[in-house]
């Protein structure tokens, strides 16, 4: 390895900045999401900056006693989630990034499930089901990208020609993943902002103030991860990438609004049935028509 020259240093600074700013961008997007959702329900909706307000308020509330282990796990969770996003942004290996994000989510589940509250434990169990649904899909997406680009590095995938034939099914899988990352459906997870919740606040029941803000940041990183994966499909043409993100996001919002009573069990069959099938089709087409194909 050569010594880090100025360009490398600049790239590193840019990477750190992009990773630090990623959740802020997701926050803004969630603000828009809440406005769009409100419009679909014939409401005005909160200000677009609402997620930022919420986060600031949470972070500056006075602290309540917190379980030491859960708090440390939460910190580690955010570090790993941010690291997974940074890995992709740096053009690193997609499978590595997916594995790191999986580890991050495990830490969150442990943080949620390791406290006394039965609500939190049940919430953690349901988070675990979401992990079970989304982890294989994420891996399949990474492998499908690898098949298209002939390499698993995010840089190679971003540089690869837009896989037109793979896009629709890959987008479907990523849409399912996005819907899972947003945590709005299924409703019995209780971590959403929707009024119809079960289990008090599910996995975040025992988190308050700063620690809830931390959980929120981790959650935003998780969303950012899926969004970056979507954008990877055509980063060569930036506007198309943004369009794909917007289109997938819109589909996810519509799906969320049309399936308000989706339970974790239906999520399992929707996720594996639709998302999994689409991912397999994407794998096949990507291999047949992508740069990695023989």
């Amino acid at each position: 390895m050569s010594l880090p020259g100025l360009p490398n240093l600049l790239a590193l600074v840019a990477l750190v900045a992009a990773t630090a700013l990623a959740p802020l961008g997701v926050g803004l997007l969630l603000g828009v999401d809440r406005r769009v959702t409100a419009a679909m329900q014939l409401r005005a909706g909160p200000p677009i900056l609402q997620p930022w307000y919420d986060l600031t308020k949470l972070a500056t509330k006075t602290s309540l006693p917190v379980d030491r282990l859960a708090a440390s796990l939460l910190v580690a969770h955010v570090v790993l989630a941010a690291g997974a996003v940074a890995l992709v942004l740096a053009g690193g290996d997609l499978i590595a990034a997916v594995l790191v994000m999986g580890a991050a989510r495990v830490l969150f589940i442990l943080a949620a499930g390791a406290v006394e509250s039965p609500y939190a434990q049940l919430g953690a169990s349901r988070e675990l089901i979401l992990l079970l649904i989304s982890e294989p899909l994420l891996l399949l997406v990474a492998i499908a990208y690898g098949g298209v680009a002939g390499s698993f590095s995010a840089a190679a995938v971003a540089a690869a020609r837009a896989p037109v034939l793979t896009l629709p099914t890959l987008g479907l899988t990523l849409g399912v993943l996005l819907a899972i990352a947003l945590r709005k459906s299924p409703f019995d997870l209780a971590t959403s902002h929707h009024a119809h919740q079960e289990l008090v606040k599910g996995s975040t029941t025992e988190m308050a103030g700063f620690w809830l803000a931390l959980a929120e940041v981790g959650h935003w990183y998780e969303t950012a991860f899926v969004l970056v994966l979507i954008a990877l499909a055509s980063l060569a043409v930036p506007l198309v990438g943004i369009g794909l993100v917007a289109a997938t996001y819109t589909v996810a919002i519509v799906a969320d609004n049309t399936l308000p009573r989706a339970t974790w069990r239906s999520a399992l069959w929707i996720g594996w049935g639709i998302g999994g099938t689409a991912a397999v089709i994407a794998l096949v087409t990507g291999r047949l028509f992508g740069a990695g194909g023989a």
Binding site: R34, A38, Q41, L42, R43, A44, G45, P46, P47, Q50, W52, Y53, D54, L55, T56, K57, L58, T60, K61, T62, S63, L64, A190, H193, A195, Q197, V200, K201, T204, T205, E206, M207, A208, G209, L212
Partner: protein
């Protein structure tokens, strides 16, 4: 010209007033007020315009909306829910029962209004109050969330610092003058 510190503090104050998450606690009334609170959260009145989210967990709430009279049966529960909320927090007593016991006042198990148990910041009278009035009460409480608050005592009825939403008249929000 304000420095970054001032800007940050202004941002924090703004965030705190624009993100009121409410915890709804029914102390044991007739549920009329509770129905009205749910109405307030529905799209017609759309409390989410003001950043209101109904959370089921007092640890995550900023505003405690209490309905019904204070009574022996769940006095400890109300107190516990209040104690589990993190500062800055405010209490909005919704309806006549929460204000002073309402039609239940004088019954052997009734202590009076919820002010007997927790320090109430805003009284929203009415039996039941309309959703608009409940929303007004919540909004009237927002400035109280902007600054750090010190511990407060339950004073029974309205205290010098309480806000009382009048039932009628032009001036809807009236601060009770110091006696």
């Amino acid at each position: 010209m304000r420095g970054p510190r001032e800007l940050w503090q202004a941002w924090v104050r703004r965030s705190r007033t624009k993100s009121p998450w409410v915890v709804h606690f029914d102390c044991g009334g007739c549920n009329g007020c509770d129905i009205e609170i749910l109405d307030t959260l529905m799209p017609r009145f759309s409390a989410e315009r003001f950043g209101v989210i109904n959370v089921g967990d007092p640890r995550q709430g900023d505003i405690l909306l209490v309905t019904g009279p204070a009574n022996l049966r769940n006095a400890a529960v109300l107190r516990s829910v209040y104690d589990q909320m993190a500062e800055p927090k405010v209490v909005v007593a919704v309806g006549s029962c929460a204000a002073h016991g309402g039609v239940f006042r004088g019954a052997p198990n009734i202590l009076g209004g919820v002010g007997e148990l927790v320090p109430v910041d805003v009284f929203v009278p009415g039996c039941p109050p309309t959703p608009e009035r409940i929303l007004d009460g919540v909004i009237a409480a927002l400035p109280l969330l902007a600054e750090p608050r010190t511990a407060r005592q339950a004073t029974g009825g309205p205290s010098p610092m309480s806000i009382v939403m009048l039932e009628q008249g032009e001036e809807e929000v009236v601060r009770v003058p110091a006696s």
